[in-house]
Structures are given as C-alpha cells and as structure tokens.
C-alpha cells in the first residue's frame, strides 16, 4: 500500500525560519534530508518524493471566461501551514508508513535538536478496482 507523507511547514516563519539558522545547522538539515532519501531508496520503500517551491511563489488558477486560465497570486485559503514537500512510500502496513514519517519528522533544526515537525500521512488511492 502506498502512503503520501506530507511535510507541512508553519506559515509566517516559512521553513521554520530556516534563514535564521547558522550555516552548521543548515548543513546538518540538508545532509539529513539527502541521507533520508538515500536510505528510503536503498530500503526499497521510496516511490517518489518532491520538494516544493515556497508558497510565496505559488499561483492560484481558476478557469475564467471560455475556460482560459486566470492566474493570480492569491488570496489563498487561510492556513497555519503549507506543504513544503512530500514523499510517497510503498509499504506493507500503515505502521511502516508512520515509522518513516517519524524519521522524517525528527530532521535536525537549530542546535541539531529534532524539529519534530508534523508529517501528514494519507493513503494513496491505489487499490484494485472492484470485481464486477
């Protein structure tokens, strides 16, 4: 079964105020993420992962007249958090997905302390179609 692990970052400080971190903390965080993805790939559980550009670069699109795209900078729905990136993991049980989410959640922040950031886990709809 596949799960999407969504890494949500708090709005306002954006990326946990990553621009206030020192170079050492920043490097440790980057190295952690690189290693985590490498490990998940080696373990054979990683089906995909992407980081997203920050919400400041996001655009809101609606179909306008004659279905042409109308692109604006927002306003976006009021939210405390935004999606910073996601993993899709292919595992046997939900617990395995939760375990991976916990590993990602513990990515180091300032002073090397775990961020324990919230990771939203949602199953990917990939079950077989019903027999008819």
């Amino acid at each position: 079964m596949k799960f999407m692990l969504m890494m949500n970052a708090p709005r306002g400080t954006g990326d946990w105020g990553i621009y206030k971190w020192g170079p050492g903390d920043m490097k440790a965080h980057i190295d952690f993420m690189i290693r985590l993805n490498k490990d998940l790939r080696a373990e054979g559980t990683l089906a995909g992962c992407e980081g997203l550009a920050p919400p400041g670069e996001a655009r809101l699109v609606r179909a306008g007249k004659s279905a042409a795209p109308e692109v604006t900078d927002g306003p976006f729905a009021e939210a405390k958090e935004f999606l910073a990136g996601y993993w899709i993991v292919d595992v046997e049980t939900p617990d395995q997905a939760y375990a991976i989410a916990a590993r990602a959640s513990a990515a180091p922040g300032p002073g090397g302390k775990p961020l324990n950031m919230p990771i939203e886990v949602r199953q990917v709809m990939s079950g077989p179609p019903p027999e008819s």
Partner: protein
Amino acid sequence: MTAAYSGEHLLRELAPQVLGAVVRRFGDFPAAEDAVQEALLVAATKWPDEGVPDNPRAWLIQVAARRMTDALRTELARRRRETTLALDEPDALVVPAPDSGQEPEQDDTLLLLFMCCHPALTRSSSIALTLRAVGGLTTAEIASAFLVPEATMAQRISRAKQLIKKSGVRFSMPTEGERAETLGAVLHVLYLVFNEGYATSAGPSLQRVDLSSEAIRLARAVYHALPDDTECAGLLALMLLTDARKVARSGPDGELIPLDEQDRATWDRDAIAEGVALVEKTLAKGAVGAYQLQAAIAAVHDEAARAEDTDWPQILALYGLLLRMADNPMIALNHAIAASMVHGPAAGLALLQELDADPRIASHHRLAAVRAHLEERAGNRDAAIAAYRLAADRTASIPERNYLRMKAARLAAGES
C-alpha cells in the same frame, strides 16, 4: 558483460538505419517505428545467447519488416471482416519485395531527425520521439530519464507519431528553403536533450540513461552527415566542452560546485581537446553562429588551468558578439558576469539593472543569484544575503537551493 554492452551500443547505432529502411519500404512511419522497436527488443534478448548475426542491420530490417507485414495482414483481415468487401490479392500488397535485407547501405539518421523535430510537434514530443526513433532507446528508458511514468511517455510518443502522420511530413530531405529552419530545430532539440541530462545528472538514480551522452552521440551523427555545417560542429563542440566538466560540477551528494571552485584536474582532457579542435576548425571557416560562440566561450573556460587564469576579456568580447546576434536575456546575464570579471562588480551590477526591466528574466532565479554573487564581491553583505535568499526561493533545483541557502547562511554568520 562487455559483449552484451557493446551489443546494446550496436543496436542503438543501427536503430535509425533500420527504421529508415523500413519507412522507405512501407511508408507508414508510426507503424514502422513500432516494428523497429519490437525488432530491437527481439535482438536484445536473442543476440546475447545466439551471437550477433553476420549482417545485423539486414537481420533487424527483416524482423521489423515481418512485423509490419503481420500487422498489415491483421489490419486487412479486420477490414475485410468489417466491410465484407474482399480484396483480391492482399498478399501482393503487403509482402515485402524479395530483396529483403538488400537495402542500400545509407544513413537515414538525418532524415529521421528532420521528421522527429518537425515544427508541427511540441518540443517535448520531439525530444521523446528523437530519443526513441533515432536514439533507439526504449519508452521505459526515456520515461525514467525524464522521471515520468512510462504510460505518460508512451502516450507522448504515440501522439507525436500520429501528428507526424497527420501533418503528412514526407520522409525526404527538406527543400533548400526549409533546410536551415529544419536543421535549426534539430540542433535545438539535441541541445535541449543535452541540457536536460546536464541539469539532472546529479539526480537520484544511477540507472537513468545518460541524456548528455546520448545528445553528444546524436550530435556527432549529425556532424558526420553534415561536416561542413559550422553550427552543427559548434553544437557538438559546446556539448563536449561542457560535458568535460561533468564529474567536477557536483559533490558526492549531488551538491553543486561552481566553476571557480571545481577541481580542474578531473576535467575530461580528451573531450576538451576534441571540442577545442572543432571550435578552431569552424572559426577558421568564417561563418559564426550562436552555438560556435558558446562553444568558444566554453573553450576559454576549459583552457584555463586555474579559475584565476581565465581569459575574461576574451569571454566578454565573445558574449558581446553573441548579444549582437540574439536578443536573449540569459546571454545578457552572462555578459554582465563577464563584464564584472573584467571591470569589477559595480559594472556588472549596473548591467543587471537593465535586466530588471525585462519581464523575460526579471523574476528568474538566475538573475537574483548573479546579483547575490556580485553584491557579495562588492562587499554589500546585506544586499547579497537578500539576493541569495530570493534566488533560493525561486530556483526549481534542490541542489541549487541548498547551495544558495548555504551561501546566505555563511554570509549571515560572518563566514565566507
């Protein structure tokens, strides 16, 4: 292992020749392309065990032709069932002439490239189709190279083939009038394939097809077909001179290493020598094009033993020539970098100000990244930090974002 490996290379070399022969005989490009792919697959499974046949090209043509005939027979049978109007001698229509495998030896690579890069197609379909029909790659390999699902890539390729069929492109050399434009499109597609490979070569999977090498192989084939075309030679040289720095440009975890910090001892000397020779040969011929100039710039970089030995005045002059040839903001940006290396960061920053007014590049991350470097060199710490952060927010490349964020963090911490 080595034999299997070279067998695979042989197959890919033969792919366009075989496809050319089958298209010539049957005309139906989409069907012919499918048949050739099947023949390549049969060969890939049989040859390692049974050995490569004496005339591998004829062998592949025969297998592909048989597939075509079978497919046509099925199609005719279907039509007969549906229309009840029996055709008199269907076999006479579909059975290949008895000269199977005696196609004249000719290289149709160029003709196929002209078809695959037809202006009716989108760039992304041209790229996919070129890699399959001319490069001999499988759909799965192309899909994994572009990190999209195989079904998506299969759809892209099949739609491209239908478009070619519908637009009635003929399998023949373009007229003298169309030739320059069509060749320009071919070179551009190869350039894009190369860039895709270059941009993602630090990517996650080692099993991905090396698109840069594939682009070089195809550019080499075009160069051999048109040795007197200076832009084609220029493109090949540009690819070789850029690819020569491949190993040096990223660290063990895919982190970005800028040109001035690269270990130049790891640059590929043979590729540089070949690229430089091509540049010198084409410049001697007089006509100067955009690929040649970019190749010449790459050559100046590659010939500097240390970053500080780089002949920036010459690079600045070359970018000046390029700018006169094309109104391209990316070239203007590189021109500004060269100007800053010759006349100091203030001169570069002044040129960047003009680009702020150009909507094609004003919000591009490269503009912010270049500004950050120049502000840093000019000693404007805060402006540099702000520009590094802006660039980090705008780039779509994670290794580049990490690099830019680290630059900002180091400056903010008073290191650098």
